[in-house]
Amino acid sequence: MSKLILTVDDSASMRMLLKASLAAQGFQVEVADDGEHGLERMHEVKPDLLITDINMPRMDGFELIEAVRAVPEFRGTPILVLSTEFSDEKKTRAREAGATGWITKPFEAAKLGAAVRRVCP
């Protein structure tokens, strides 16, 4: 039973890139295109791991992480933040919001896989 990952990103090319990269490494991938959509999809697919972008319309990554962590069922779901943003303020915010780890764009497929396996049992 391969792991199911939900990726949330407002850029279609980034979603496809993630999906292609993760699928090639044997993960099942579901996608959502912004925070609100991501939260809906969380309840639908109940993924083993959530990977989210930060800058998105409607609901950004921080808000999504907070919203996900507020659901008891998802308290222990690992969340990786995928973003090009690199300010410490952003990291602090993401961590406070409840992210498990952090990956910068652009990512390398192997590193991405390692990061995923590091938080996704």
Binding site: S11, A12, S13, P78, E89, K91, T92, K105, R118, V119
Partner: protein, 739 residues
């Protein structure tokens, strides 16, 4: 994966184009004084997305530029740099360069020269926006645009590329370790996850598993901190594992495993005699090198520091503003409420490959033809019995829907113009204002894609040759700023795009002299003003005294005209000396299907575009009168309209007398209402336009061909070309709407 990557890269560039449009819209709004956080955030997000993807696809130059641009936008977004007029101007300039970067990345050509713009952006950052906008930096005119984007896929990662402009600070373990022996000794790793390591979905077990995958083995577990069951908190962590890792594993690889581990955990890596206690902060900096980050640590508990205490504090202090470190909630950024408000209803949409739509359109075309065949072969009673009218109605609805799928606001083609004008203004020093009308007019996407080039040249021509310098304008009693009106409107089955300038108009004396000099016309040619204006579209004609770098790039208006005609459109030029020039492109709304009236001339059938038909007249004897041996008029309600015998034009006439013929009154762009004399009318049909261009030279008056229900071929008439006054320079007669 590389094919897939190519495909994804294509989508990325589509997104870039969309993002650029959003950014330009936002920046234009800002230039007009709308500096709401929503607008600014929109621009930021657009540029941010371009940056994200550019890194992923290895477009280093685009990545570097968008990153610097984004930095400024981020400051503006956070209110640390004011969205002043000067800053906005610089950002508009940066936007232009960004567009060039995207184009370069997409076509695989040299990235634009952006050093000057980067300096400006940096100046904005350094001065916190207290800058005056420099003179606009003219963007270099791109070299001839490559048509085919044959780029080679780039690996999705740039090794060692550090877009963040800082040196990774790795903890130098070499200080504590001897030179590498030939057979490296193993590592002893001690790992004591803190309570925090179990929060937020963290799972220390996975780190151990990862080390095991590298060949590590757990050699011991320290459990002395484990409390009694009564006091055990399942959310806390009490164990310290000791692992042996083979010496062949690099220390960085070991460290990488601990990337996400909570910063207050115990992590020791030991080789031979040296022990290093790592506090995750250095690691995070080092790790960024690999594209991973770890959140900055809380101060490490004193007792965990063993041999080599590392002071994380200075690093943290340098990296985080105190406010942010203490209370992220107080950190600048979008307050939540505002973010909620900013949520925009996004229409649900999917991307469909255009070729799929083309295929669908072709099928619909075939369906239309089959429908015609049925209605040709079935008696009216049978048609009713099989409910053919219903079927036709459905077919037409499907066709309309498919058409609307491909229709898009012409705004897409117009969106390049403001930027172009900015460049041209900078290049020529002429001040030009743009006025746009009708940009929401919808046209087939295929048309939109193809009018970009002609439009570009018309605008260039208007600025370069039409608009005068400010001094000249003032001397002529005009405002110093020239105006270019860009408009689009739908007229029947055509769309008319106009570029009108209020410049000096066409200098007919000079055009005429030049045309004679170039041997385009005879020295004694008698030609009308309109024909002289038309000469500027003659091949090889250029009136610019010096080949300017704007419209004289080896591309004259003749190319514009042939581009427009290839689209089945027509280019018209109207000029009033001293008052300006108007270029009008008349283009078919769609390139595929036409509502036509089938008319008969002896045994030939022709199709008239129904959009042009006003009425049909069965002439009474004497209603059609000859005014000269070659021209006739029809008297209609007290008015006289010119009549053309279509049969004679194509040499298929049956020479019936007018009273046994029909006169179809059509509306034309060029000559108002005109009567076309034909033998009979067959019926009304939707016909699928097949191009003649592929196999034949353009024929004046014919706009294409179609296959009728009985399988025979009918030619489609181009009314405007048919009724155009036949004049001296029929060589430049403008032809019609072949698809």
């Amino acid at each position: 994966m590389s094919d897939e990557l190519d495909e994804i890269q294509g989508i990325f560039f589509e997104e870039c184009v969309e993002g650029l449009a959003v950014a330009e819209q936002g920046l234009s709004a800002m230039a007009e004084g709308d500096v709401s956080s929503e607008t600014i955030a929109g621009v930021f997000r657009a540029v941010h997305s371009i940056k994200g993807g550019s890194g992923a696809f290895g477009h280093a130059a685009l990545l570097a530029f968008s990153h610097r641009f984004e930095n400024v936008l981020d400051e503006v977004r956070g209110g640390r740099i004011p969205a002043s007029a000067e800053v906005t101007q610089i950002m508009l300039g940066a936007f232009d360069i960004l567009s060039d970067h995207v184009t370069a990345a997409q076509s695989g050509t040299e990235p634009p020269a952006d050093a000057a713009m980067l300096e400006q952006l940096d100046a904005v950052l350094e001065s916190k926006g207290a800058v005056a906008a420099a003179e606009p930096v003219a963007a270099p005119v791109p070299a001839a645009e490559a048509d085919d984007f044959g780029f080679t896929p780039v690996a999705a990662v740039i090794e060692d590329f550090d877009p963040f402009g800082f040196e990774p600070v790795a903890v130098d373990l070499e200080d504590f370790a001897p030179a590498e022996p030939a057979e490296p000794a193993g590592w002893t790793v001690r790992f004591g996850p803190s309570r925090g390591a179990l929060a937020n979905g963290g799972e220390p077990m996975l780190v151990i598993r990862e080390l095991e995958d590298m060949g590590a083995a757990v050699t011991g577990v320290e459990m002395d901190t484990l409390p009694g069951l009564r006091d055990l908190d399942p959310e806390d962590s009490y164990f310290v594992w000791t692992l042996h890792v083979p010496g062949t594993v690099g220390e960085q690889d070991i460290r990488d495993c601990f990337d996400f581990v909570a910063p207050d955990s115990l992590i020791e890596i030991e080789r031979e005699e040296a022990v290093v206690t790592m506090v995750v902060v250095e690691q995070s900096v080092a790790a960024e090198f690999d594209g991973f980050g770890v959140f900055e640590p809380l101060p490490a508990p004193e007792e965990l520091l063993t041999l080599v205490p590392v002071e994380p504090a200075p690093v943290v202090a340098a990296a985080v503003s105190p406010a942010a470190a203490v209370s992220p909630a107080a950190a600048p950024g979008k307050p939540k409420a505002e973010a909620r408000q900013a949520s925009v209803e996004v229409a649900q949409s999917i991307r469909v490959d255009l070729s799929k739509l083309d295929q669908l359109l072709n099928l619909v075309g075939e369906l239309v033809i089959r429908g015609s065949i049925l209605s040709d072969r079935l008696s009216p009673a049978d048609q009713e019995r099989v409910e053919l009218p219903e079927l036709s109605r459905l077919t037409r609805q499907i066709q309309d829907n498919v058409m609307s799928l491909r229709a898009q606001p012409i705004k897409q083609a117009f969106s390049r113009v403001p930027r172009m004008l900015r460049d041209l203004s900078a290049e020529t020093g002429k001040k030009v204002v743009l006025e746009t009308i009708g940009e929401m007019t919808e046209v087939d996407k295929g048309v939109i894609e193809k009018i970009g080039d002609p439009l570009t040249h018309m605008i260039r021509n208007a600025v370069d040759h039409g608009i005068e310098s400010a001094e000249e304008r003032i001397a002529a009693g005009k405002p110093a700023e020239g105006t270019i009106h860009l408009s689009a409107e739908q007229k029947g089955a055509r769309i008319i795009v106009r570029v009108r300038d209020d410049g000096r108009g066409i200098n007919r004396e000079r055009v005429r002299a030049k045309a004679i000099e170039r041997g385009i016309i005879a020295a004694d040619a008698q030609i009308s003003d309109e024909e002289i204006d038309g000469l500027i579209c003659a091949p090889g004609f250029s009136t610019a005294e010096t080949i300017s770098n704007i419209s004289g790039r080896g591309v004259g208006m003749d190319v514009v005209r042939s581009n427009v005609e290839a689209l089945g459109g027509r280019l018209e030029i109207h000029s009033v000396p001293g008052e300006g020039t108007t270029f009008s492109m008349g283009l078919p709304l769609t390139l595929a299907i036409l509502d036509g009236m089938i008319v008969r001339l002896s045994d030939q059938r022709f199709v008239l575009p129904l959009a042009n038909v006003v009425e049909t007249v069965q002439p009474e004897p004497g209603q059609v009168q000859a005014t000269s041996p070659t021209s006739e008029v029809i008297e209609l309600r007290g008015q006289y309209l010119p009549v053309r015998r279509v049969g004679e034009m194509f040499g298929v006439g049956s020479n019936r007398p007018p009273e046994e013929s029909l006169v179809i009154i059509v509306e034309s762009e060029t000559a108002g209402n005109v009567g076309l004399m034909v033998d009979t009318i067959d019926n009304r049909r939707e016909v699928v336009i097949k191009s003649l261009e592929d196999n034949l030279h353009p024929i004046r008056g014919l706009g294409g061909a179609t296959i009728l229900g009985d399988g025979s071929i009918a030619l489609i008439l181009d009314i405007d070309a048919l009724v155009a006054p036949t004049g001296g320079s029929s060589k430049y007669a403008l032809k019609g709407m072949a698809a």
